[in-house]
């Protein structure tokens, strides 16, 4: 194998770096390399976003692994002469902490995702090779259940499903419940719109969840584990089944594990994909074969859960952290993150962001770092408006929250919540009123209907938001909207209803002007709500070609050849086809 290129220049091709460039850097560097007669030994390669967008454009010299940032046309000569010809690093273009001239390199840290994308999830040997089942072996052979529980408590791990309850404490409470039978349940009923963290872990590293469940079983004194996974995740289910069978064959699940007499088996229960079943009491009822409806706590599942036996319910991501904590120690885990939220969090980035993807970052990272560095900024260079965290139960964070260190408590204080980790990014074109309506629509469909505030209240909230979006809202509606939101929040039975008005309350707190505009000024500031749109044809540009009239799907445009056309506003459905088809830019939108 001979590489004819002695060095490569990796030029970031991400849209953020491209926007920041003062030239087509790839073409310019190629031109310069020719000038220096270097084109035979050096190759320019376009790379996908390198996640340092705030200090772009970025160029990496390979194989030296030196990264230059904020590179302009005028820096290219220096890079070529100094680095490529004289092997000296151009220090002024290196941005790092030590240098003191820039931003610290943003690093993702993968704990829950440590194996995701690195091992074959259908091959137990791959997992074993990466220290798999070491944690279970260590727990069973060296420590008492109490010691392991204390280790988990010491690590500061909090439930990753959304609640943020300390995991170790939950284990301790369940272990103290006296019963002939206890259960470990893995909550894999991920239902937030835009969230896919748990699916990715199950599809990429199922064994780490199985191992952690067995460890949990050892701690709380349970010999049965159940994974409640939605049937909408067929690949996750398939890989889980393979993983369970392989673990059984190897003797890592079943009787007398590692010859220690400890027994643990895992079965799968399928959910039909109801959002409410992510709530632990509803999940347990669904597993028992009853309606997926929540019940009032207490009694907590740790005292009376599945089949009235003490049950410990944890989320997939929470479990995925456990083997790493046992292997590397609680102190190591507790050294990452903020004072009250330890470790890392997996986020699913979605919406109007360049690098849509799955990331794992230490707690305490700011929203700005997530959106502008790891996320690569907003699509098409538009202005950031808000990010919805915590799904339909969460709230929106705005520009003023960009430098907020993210952890469980700071997000709650800011009127949102951590939730399971979905982050939907919105730009200046998104209407916050219709965004709130979207989430309420979701809630209305997903409410189980058991308690009146959630069943009826959310329906009324949704109707009011629809009224606002249709341009029929009044100022009284705004007051009513807020009051009813508070009532639903205070009186609903379970977490779903108690949090469902959050999107309304947080958008009203942060974007009241938009609500006001919908009612008082009769307009939608971001131009999303169709009822406020008015398409019209301007006299000066229209040449009377009849194209729009022919293309209009509802026949709302009339006019004769070479004469001004008119849109009948009664018939117009605001589909925008006329505007799209008019070559003379005669169709306008107010």
């Amino acid at each position: 194998m001979s590489n004819r290129y002695r060095k490569n220049l990796l030029v970031c091709n991400g849209s953020s770096c491209q926007q920041a460039s003062d030239a087509d850097l790839v073409a310019f560097i190629n031109f310069k390399l020719k000038e220096y007669n270097l084109e035979d030994g050096i190759k320019v390669v376009q790379s996908v976003c390198s996640n340092k967008c705030s200090i772009g454009p970025n160029i990496i010299v390979y194989p030296d692994n030196v990264e230059y940032s904020k590179v302009t046309k005028s820096d290219i000569d220096d890079i070529i002469i100094e680095h490529l010809l004289n092997e000296r690093i151009v220090e002024r273009l290196v941005f790092d902490k030590e240098n003191g001239n820039g931003v610290a390199p943003i690093k993702q840290y993968r704990i829950a995702l440590r194996n995701c994308g690195f091992i074959d999830p259908e091959e137990i040997k791959d997992y074993i090779e990466k220290d798999g089942y070491d944690a279970l072996a260590k727990c069973l052979s060296k420590y008492t259940p109490e010691e392991v529980t204390q280790e988990v408590i010491k690590s500061g791990l909090r439930g990753r499903g959304g609640g943020g309850f300390p995991t170790g404490l939950k284990w301790e409470i369940t272990s103290k419940s006296v019963s002939d039978q206890k259960y470990v349940v893995c909550n894999a009923d991920e239902g937030d719109p835009g969230a896919f963290m748990d699916r990715s872990v199950l599809e990429g590293d199922p064994h780490s969840v199985l191992e952690a469940m067995a460890i949990c079983g050892y701690c709380i004194g349970a010999n049965k584990g159940i994974i409640y996974v939605r049937a909408e995740y067929p690949l996750a289910v398939k890989r889980l089944k393979i993983a369970i069978n392989q673990a059984k064959e190897y003797g890592l699940l079943g009787k007398n594990i590692f010859g220690t007499g400890f027994e643990f088996t895992i079965t799968i229960k399928y959910g039909a994909g109801a959002f409410i079943c992510g709530e632990e009491t509803a999940l347990i009822h669904s597993m028992e074969g009853f309606l997926g409806e929540p019940t009032l706590k207490p009694p907590f599942p740790s005292v009376s859960g599945y089949l009235k036996k003490p049950t410990n319910v944890n989320n997939v991501e929470t479990f995925a952290n456990i083997p790493a904590i046992i292997n590397k120690g609680a102190d190591w885990y507790a050294s990452i993150g903020t004072e009250k939220s330890k470790g890392t969090k997996v986020f699913a980035l979605a919406g109007k962001i360049n690098n849509v993807g799955l990331i794992e970052v230490p707690m305490g990272i700011t929203l700005r770092e997530i959106i502008y560095d790891i996320g690569g900024g907003i699509v098409n260079g538009k202005k950031f408006k808000a990010v919805q965290t915590g799904g339909p139960s969460g709230g929106c964070l705005t520009e003023k929250h960009l430098d907020l260190p993210i952890d469980f408590d700071s997000l709650t204080a800011a009127g949102s919540m951590m939730g399971s980790g979905g982050m939907i990014v919105m730009d200046e074109d998104d209407c916050m009123v219709s965004m709130a309506r979207f989430y309420l629509e979701f809630i209305v469909e997903e409410s189980c209907g058991k308690c009146a505030p959630c069943r009826i209240g959310n329906k009324r909230l949704h109707e009011m938001l629809t009224k606002l979006c249709d341009g029929k809202g009044t100022m009284e509606d705004l007051d009513l909207l807020r009051n009813l939101s508070v009532v639903v929040k205070d009186t609903s039975l379970c977490g779903l209803g108690q949090t469902s008005p959050n999107p309304i309350l947080s958008t009203m707190a942060n974007f009241y002007d938009e609500y006001y505009a919908h009612v008082a000024e009769h307009r939608c500031p971001s131009g999303q709500c169709k009822s406020f749109m008015l398409y019209y044809i301007s006299e000066e540009n229209c040449i009377g070609c009849l194209v729009c009239a022919r293309k209009c799907p509802v026949g709302a445009i009339s006019g004769e050849k070479k004469k001004l056309h008119i849109i009948n506003q009664e018939l117009c459905t605001k589909c925008g086809v006329c505007m799209e088809k008019c070559k003379f830019h005669a169709v306008h939108l107010n």
Partner: protein, 130 residues
């Protein structure tokens, strides 16, 4: 079928996995071994990762390249699917994004055969806990 009856058995299996890898290197006339990991989560498969993986599995033997092609889960680069990671023995892994069949062919001819980088590399920007 090996079963694990003690902690020592687990370590024994891990050693045998590593030994099998060493054996493969020796059997390969000490030529550098190539490992290709294709991100095959639901999202990767939906954007065409399966076809890319099959392409490598079919084409590499035809072109006399010994490689381990395997599926993995999500690598996190949803914006650049299908993605794959290639490790040439003793070298650092390189991740490629937006890999279609054409790009896969280019990767075999240029990167795997000659060690030459091609467009579409994703610089790795994370630390791993293990």
């Amino acid at each position: 079928m090996e079963t694990i009856k003690s902690v020592a058995d687990l370590h024994k299996i891990r050693t045998s996995i590593l030994e099998a890898k060493q054996k493969q290197i020796v059997e390969n006339d000490n030529k550098k071994l190539v490992e290709i990991k294709v991100a095959m989560a639901t999202c990767g498969i939906a954007s065409g990762a399966k076809a890319v993986m099959d392409f490598f599995r079919e084409e590499l033997p035809k072109r006399n390249i010994v490689a381990n092609v395997k599926q993995t889960g999500c690598m996190g680069y949803c914006y650049a699917e299908p993605t794959l990671e290639i490790t040439i023995q003793d070298e650092k892994p390189v991740v490629f994004g937006y890999v279609d069949l054409k790009k896969a062919d280019e990767i075999i001819e240029k990167f795997i055969k000659k060690g030459e980088l091609v467009d579409g590399i994703i610089p790795i920007k994370y630390e791993l806990a293990n």
